[in-house]
Amino acid sequence: MTRYFTEDHEWIEVDGDTATVGITDYAQGQLGDIVFVEVPAGGTALSKGGEAAVVESVKAASDVYSPVSGTVTEGNPALEDDPALVNTAPEGDGWFFKLTITDAGELDGLMDEAAYKAFCDTL
């Protein structure tokens, strides 16, 4: 399994033609206390860079974009009862959705963990 990162602070962990998407620890730290997450329903078609989910902190709503094109297989049901999972386990149990990847070539432009860390250090 390989994990990639976007400049919008999403992570995507790829396993064959399926993947899991969430937001990074850096992103949850910037957002602060998360009180609501709207995840996409199974079957939703997503395009790379398109709006996929909404994460709401106490203060504001933010869009989460899909790192690649694909079809959602499930949204994380645990976030409905416990949106703070995004704060406590952003890169684990606080994942947002799983999808089937349409075009694996779209992964090429994403950052690996080292590149993402270097990117965050510039912010």
Binding site: G32, D33, V35, F36, E38, V54, E56, S57, V58, K59, A60, A61, E80, P83
Partner: protein, 381 residues
């Protein structure tokens, strides 16, 4: 409007470095770099509701209006009964445009030194509107009334159930001397300290005016007490929303009058009878006949916050708009505030807001959402 354009450059609060040293995340607000949060909005909100939170509100405008006839001059613009306001007493009031629209909401303290002395009023206005307010007051106050902007003073708010006990250790006797909406002044650490018992969180607390160049001493003395933590703008907003207190520029603005803005309580009985303030004709008619729309609170079903700008519907008809909304940490659910047409203002009225194309059920709610805990005169401590 060149005066406001001259002010676009972001200013630093007197405590800018102090906030940063405490890990605050700073954001631009009202022309200043201000701390939005330190450890996190939820924890800070909870701290202010259970202990004592220290807020830097030095961006707000502190003004002195002084001179013979000052009360009457303020009464020509605002609907407060300042002639009847005794020294050491504070009133919430509204700066009104000539047509009765709300230019700002503010606090007025009678700081006249003694019986027979020149009347003197200390006025605290919103940070985002202070330059416009000053211009408006200069234009509308008679020449014999002087207006001074105390731009060399900072302002801190200490809010929460432990605020009185904490402040009493620095300023002995102040907790007994003052009740809600009373003010006094003392000397602290060699400089004049203005103290008012009030604030904008719904909790008991104090606003402290102190020289900007010595403000750090006061802030340090307060946070040296383990009951006190600094609180950012984020929690200030969620606290005031739970307390049902409007935020100028969001819940109140120039397009609404005090009756529409559910601020008619700021129009004292005497002024309702006399009139004679800006917009009196429109406002007294709205008091008699009821306004066409009104600011109300909303309980929001589910967990998804409904935020400023969301349209409000009764069935297919759009009947209003949300002006403030978010997650309320003490309530544990989303709440909101907004305007709805007069027919839909009764508490319990079921409405819907539209958020990202979805309908979210709302109920018109009694405000405040969290009971006020002000220290009122005569009430048990």
């Amino acid at each position: 409007m060149s005066e406001t354009e001259d002010q676009v450059e972001t200013q630093m609060l007197p405590l800018d470095g102090w906030h940063r040293a405490r890990g605050a995340r700073m954001v631009p607000f009202a022309g200043y770099e201000m701390p939005i949060q330190y450890e996190g909005i939820m924890a800070e909100h909870e701290w202010a509701r259970t202990h004592a939170g220290l807020f830097d509100v030095s961006h707000m405008g502190q003004l002195i209006v002084e001179g013979d006839g000052a009360a009457e001059a303020l009464e020509a613009i605002m609907p407060g009964d300042f002639s009847a306001l005794k020294p050491g007493r504070i009133r919430y009031s509204l700066l009104l445009a000539e047509d009765g629209g709300i230019l700002d909401d503010l606090m007025v303290t009678n700081v006249t030194e003694s019986e027979g002395a020149t009347p003197r009023y200390y006025v605290v206005v919103n940070g985002a509107t202070k330059w416009d307010d000053i211009g408006f007051l200069r234009e509308h106050l008679p020449d014999e009334i002087t207006l001074n902007h105390l731009d060399d003073r900072g302002l801190l708010a200490l809010q929460g159930p432990e605020a009185a006990a904490v402040l009493d250790t620095l300023v002995p006797g102040v907790a007994d001397e003052l009740s809600f909406m009373q003010g006094t002044s003392r000397e602290w650490n060699g400089a004049p300290l203005g103290i008012g018992r009030g604030g904008y969180t719904g909790e008991d607390g104090f606003e402290l005016s102190y020289p900007a160049d010595k403000l750090e001493d006061l802030a340090n003395a307060l946070v040296a007490d383990e009951r006190v933590r600094p609180i950012g703008l984020g929690a200030r907003d969620s606290l005031r929303l739970e307390a049902g207190l409007p935020l100028y520029g969001h819940d109140l603005d120039e397009s609404v009058d005090p009756v529409e803005g559910s601020a008619a309580f700021a129009i004292s009985k005497a002024r309702r009878e006399q009139g004679g303030f800006h917009g009196a004709e429109r406002i007294l008619a709205a008091l008699a006949n009821g306004p066409a729309k009104k600011l109300v609170g909303f309980s929001v079903e589910g967990r998804m916050p409904v935020r400023e700008g969301a349209p409000v519907f009764a069935g297919t008809e759009e009947v209003g708009r949300v002006t403030s909304g978010g997650f309320a940490p003490t309530v544990g659910a989303p709440i909101a505030m907004g305007y709805v047409a007069a027919a839909y203002t009764a508490p319990g009225t079921a409405l819907e807001a539209e958020v990202r194309g979805k309908r979210v059920p709302l109920t018109v709610a009694q405000m405040p959402f969290v009971p006020h805990r002000y220290h009122r005169k005569g009430a048990a401590k």
